[in-house]
């Protein structure tokens, strides 16, 4: 039957009418499909009520169920039906509170007596205990907390009456191991429901912004062939206006850098004329610096601007979010912590500082302003160095043509699966055949081989393949037919480390008089001395001491101080943007464009053309520069940082086959640099050979072996799989006897346990998951077809400068180690003599 005739639908319609609203057709479509037992993915722009499309579907079902119940049995049936009905997965903690508030309002209006619970890292112990006794009807939860829930004893009974799991902002989860965590948790809960209530249909729905692979996104979330599934796409368009903040002259912008302070004064009028402005930066350190800088420019902004990022204390973040809602703040400087979903009505302007690296992210951020349907989103782009102006032009074009990149789902992450198995063992225990079947049904592990599964079971039960090598190993044991963790200490440690976001050890920062400010990485605290000051959450703080793993501070009298740097991945330009960038370089010099950004940057291009060359999109530029640092080789494929990382190592390896040579390798989104102390064996004749797509596979493997790439990837893998413990703010496990490092494990396994799957994963991640081989091959084919232009110059060019100053470097050497050490120590001696 059509849902329109049902009592629940009518009640919802009536309620919407009271606030003069009626459902968008994608919403009522979603309700209809849900009622018919479909699973699916709702794809709609922000601001059009994506939440309602799913939440109301579940409420309509509930209203109809209630209406069908005979009045006299209601109490009894309701009692049997108590507990969790809907699990709502959100990627960000900051979303949960607002969602819960909105959901409670709807339930109250529709007279549905449901409890809405929130569960994430910020949930208090008391609330968790309450939930353990009686689950709320709706639970808003992060992927990590879902796993924590599965790590609880007696957890299997929580899902008897579950009807639906919704993965909100699925586009944000799908490309990461957090998405894999969601896939695994869903597979387990589905498995439990199937066993306990085989007659019940558990529906799985996702809500996603537009991404390039939306069909795949649905397959990842709902890989189960027996379920009906559908994509409900809203036929609505969000109007977005993108405006670059331009310098008066190109010389105002530096050639490299990531701050953009020189344009800060141009930001002030935008803040003044807007109701509330959200200012997005790419790193937490950058956010802190911009906060200080804006206050320096206009002291009157004190009290009217705030700063929001993941390392700021929960209470403080809460206060800021409330303040945005009530409109008392003129501007908030934020990192990705405010990227998603939250509906801040007063926000009418968004500013992006520095390259957003991708089209989808940029549009997402733009959507934070003008959140209501049919309002226009306004976003300003503030470049931090000159070449970012070209990126601005490229992004505008991508937004115009809706050229939005795909988010590649993570597959075959052994570390995440190992963590999941131990999680289940810490909870109610698991049956390996049952879980193997469940895991094999997920998208992430559908290629999993029985031999790989067997290896993982060995890894968590006996330690590894060779029994003698792992004597006395104890972690997961078989008790009454189920695999369980018996040791309370192991269980406790595991619970503290559930998750796939790896950071340096974090310490809480607290005023000596009381009150938490936020968190800092341990490595930062070790380099500052008592009495020194630093900034956090926009405040200048004086470091007093570390006590009980808490950093004690007091307010500093200083106006400015050093800003801590938080680690965190560097984002890479996506392939889409790379191609557009090449096109824009073409247009810039020809003046065949309508982009004001390219007009501004024209003098810089002229300069590049004068000292070197501006590559057209059918050309491939190489610059050879000889300075006192050594011999530099710069190449510009414009393929994004990740591709350049692999490509740089590949070319270094191939050059190393010509003669023994050592390189340090740097890269950015435009190109890469090889730097050596001796001349680089390169000329017009061998250049195409160096960039040849032949023997790509084997050369890539060899070059990854010769660098630290896999070793770096192993850092996260060691943490996620439970080999190494990352610190936890306020929950520091004081077990010095068990501390070790990922690098050490990498060596140990390389020397003593070569077949370790986690090692293989590190190599796979360094290449196959980082970039797809086809993308690299395509880049090389393009280069083969291009006209190679080699320029030898005396000084750094505008193009190479941003790469040259990048400090994150890779090393590669084919020199004999002994000779290399001899040479390097001799160089060091010479240097220290010069200094004397």
């Amino acid at each position: 039957m059509g849902i329109e005739k049902s009592k629940g639908f009518k009640a919802v319609l009536k309620w919407l009418k009271t606030s003069k609203k009626k459902p968008f057709s994608f919403q009522s479509d979603a309700w209809q499909y849900y009622a018919e037992g479909y699973c699916g993915l709702v794809n709609a722009p922000t601001g059009f009520g994506k939440t309602y499309s799913m939440f109301l579907a579940v409420l309509i079902e509930e209203l109809n169920r209630q209406a069908d119940l005979p009045a006299k049995d209601r109490k009894k049936i309701d009692k049997a039906d108590a507990g969790l009905k809907l699990i709502w997965i959100t990627p960000l903690r900051s979303l949960a509170k607002d969602l819960a508030r909105a959901m409670r309002e709807v339930c109250a209006e529709l007279e549905i007596d449901w409890t809405i619970g929130v569960r994430n890292g910020d949930t208090s112990a008391a609330d968790k205990l309450k939930q353990k006794k009686l689950m709320p009807e709706v639970l808003i939860i992060t992927p990590e907390s879902m796993h924590l829930l599965l790590a609880q004893k007696g957890t299997s009974n929580n899902f008897k009456n579950l009807r639906c799991i919704v993965a909100d902002e699925w586009h944000e989860l799908i490309g990461s191991k957090r998405g894999v965590m969601a896939e695994l948790a869903i597979s387990r809960i589905r498995g439990l429901v199937k066993i306990q209530s085989p007659e019940r249909l558990l529906r799985i729905w996702g809500i996603s912004a537009t991404i390039g692979n939306i069909d795949e996104a649905l397959d990842v979330l709902v890989p189960y062939p027996e379920l009906l599934k559908v994509i409900v796409k809203a036929d609505l368009e969000k109007k977005i206006v993108i405006q670059s903040i331009l310098p008066d002259h190109i010389d105002m912008l530096p050639w490299a850098g990531h701050l953009g302070h020189k344009l800060a004064h141009k930001l002030l009028p935008i803040i003044y004329k807007s109701k509330t402005t959200l200012i997005f930066t790419n790193t937490r350190g950058q956010a802190e610096l911009w906060y200080q800088n804006l206050l320096k420019l206009d002291e009157n902004l004190a009290g009217q601007i705030a700063i929001h990022h993941g390392s700021i204390d929960y209470e403080l973040r809460n206060w800021i979010e409330d303040a945005i809602h009530t409109g008392v703040l003129k501007a908030v400087i934020s990192t990705s912590s405010l990227d998603l979903g939250v509906d801040f009505k007063p926000v009418d302007t968004v500013v992006q500082i520095g390259s957003p690296k991708g089209v989808a992210r940029f549009l997402q951020r733009a959507g934070r302003s003008g959140h209501s349907p049919y309002e226009t989103s306004v976003i300003y782009f503030l470049p931090t160095h000159a070449l970012e102006l070209v990126e601005a032009a490229a992004i505008k074009e991508a937004a115009r043509t809706q050229d939005i990149e795909a988010r590649q789902p993570v597959v075959m992450a052994f570390d995440t699966l190992i963590q999941y198995l131990v999680t289940l063992a810490v909870g109610d225990g698991f049956d390996d055949q049952q879980i193997f079947n469940e895991v094999r049904e997920t998208f992430a592990y559908r290629e999993l081989l029985p031999s790989e599964w067997a290896w993982m079971m060995q890894f968590i039960t006996t330690g590894g393949e060779s029994l003698t090598a792992y004597t006395e190993f104890s972690k997961v044991e078989k008790v009454d037919g189920l695999w369980k963790v018996i040791s309370r200490q192991i269980a406790l440690r595991h619970r503290l480390h559930i998750g796939t976001i790896v950071s340096d050890a974090m310490l809480k920062v607290k005023f000596i008089t009381g009150g938490y400010v936020g968190m800092l990485e341990e490595s930062f605290i070790t380099i500052i001395k008592p009495g020194n000051s630093f900034t956090l959450a926009g405040r200048v703080l004086e470091f007093i001491m570390i006590k009980d793993m808490t950093v004690l501070v007091r307010k500093s009298k200083l106006k400015t101080a050093v800003t801590p740097s938080w680690m965190g991945g560097r984002m890479s330009l996506t392939a889409n943007l790379g191609a557009l960038l090449r096109k824009k370089y073409n247009e810039a010099l020809d003046k065949t464009h309508a982009d004001e950004e390219l007009d501004i940057i024209f003098p810089l291009f002229e300069r590049q053309a004068r000292v070197s060359h501006v590559p057209k999109d059918d050309e491939f530029l190489i610059e050879l520069i000889n300075t006192k640092d050594g011999y530099h080789f710069f190449a510009y494929p414009f393929e994004g940082r990740l591709v350049h990382e692999v490509l740089g190592a590949l070319i270094a390896y191939r050059l190393g086959k010509v003669k023994p040579i050592s390189f340090s390798i740097a890269m950015n989104d435009y190109g890469f640099e090889l730097l050596s102390e001796q001349p680089i064996p390169l000329d017009e004749d061998n250049i195409k050979q160096l960039f040849s797509p032949d023997h790509l596979g084997e050369d890539i493997v060899a070059s990854i072996n010769a660098t630290e790439m896999a070793r770096r990837k192993f850092r996260d893998i060691a943490c996620i799989s439970g080999l190494v413990f990352q610190g936890f703010p306020g929950k520091y496990v004081a077990n010095k006897h068990l501390q070790s490092s990922a690098a050490l494990f990498f060596n140990v396994f390389s020397d003593y346990d070569k077949h370790n799957l986690l090692l293989r994963q590190a190599y796979d991640e360094a290449f196959y998951q980082q970039i797809e081989e086809p993308r690299l091959a395509a880049a090389l084919h393009r280069i083969q077809a291009s006209k190679v232009i080699i320029v030898k110059t005396e000084s750094y060019t505008p193009l190479c400068f941003p790469i040259k100053v990048d400090s994150l470097r890779e090393n590669m050497s084919t020199e004999e180690l002994g000779q290399r050490i001899e040479r390097m120590t001799a160089e060091a001696d010479k240097k220290s003599e010069r200094q004397k």
Partner: protein
């Protein structure tokens, strides 16, 4: 590599040991026997071969230098008696003619009778053999003795032209003290802030190099 320190000849071995010929003494530090088994017991997968590898290396050093005494400047045993320690007990029988002296480190917490069973002579705090004082961690106040210590697992980074760098474990020698590298392969490296005039001896896979 042979060096001279306070008039004594010392041989720095690339296997992270010092041989003192005039006393027929082999000196190592931070052996951490039982560390890998302790990890395994706590559910962390560290192969036992790594501990066995340490002992094989130590055996080879003894064969090479034929010392009368093996001196360990602390952290010989990582935690408690476990299967790795049993492995050591077997190893001990092969080299029963070598006297083993342990200066206790922060990790060494076996019972007195355990040390006796393993035929190890324990020095609670330090061992004075002029001109040297052997001790686990450097004493706060310097005196006439030259301190030879362990504890910190020193490492050194060598920087070359064109932003190149390499990192190795090392021996550290200043005017008043020396620090031994950790003997065990299952240990990390930490940086030392050198005193004026101090020297580092980097341990590369091929040899020991003064830096």
């Amino acid at each position: 590599m042979t060096i001279h320190c306070r008039g004594e000849e010392l041989i720095l071995s690339k296997e992270k040991a010092i041989y003192w010929p005039s006393k027929k003494m082999l000196i190592i530090s931070d052996l951490h026997i039982g560390k890998s088994a302790h990890f395994r017991k706590s559910g962390i997968q560290v192969p036992a071969t790594i501990g066995a590898g340490d002992l094989a290396r130590l055996g080879a050093q003894i064969e090479l230098y034929q010392p009368e005494i093996l001196l360990i400047t602390g952290d010989m045993f990582h935690h408690t008696i476990n299967s790795d320690v049993a492995l050591f007990a077997d190893w001990r029988h092969q080299f029963s003619n070598v006297k083993i002296v342990l200066i206790k480190g922060n990790h060494d917490s076996l019972k007195a009778e355990d040390y006796a069973d393993l035929d190890i002579l324990v020095q609670e705090k330090e061992l004075l053999m002029a001109p040297f004082r052997f001790i686990h961690d450097k004493p706060k106040v310097a005196d006439a003795y030259f301190n030879i210590t362990g504890h910190i697992h020193p490492g050194i980074t060598i920087y070359g032209k064109a932003r190149q760098r390499l990192r190795f474990p090392c021996f550290y020698f200043s005017d008043t003290c020396a620090v031994l590298p950790a003997f065990s392969a299952f240990t990390g490296l930490s940086k030392i802030n050198p005193d004026e005039g101090a020297a580092f001896y980097a341990i590369t896979p091929l040899n020991v190099v003064k830096v």
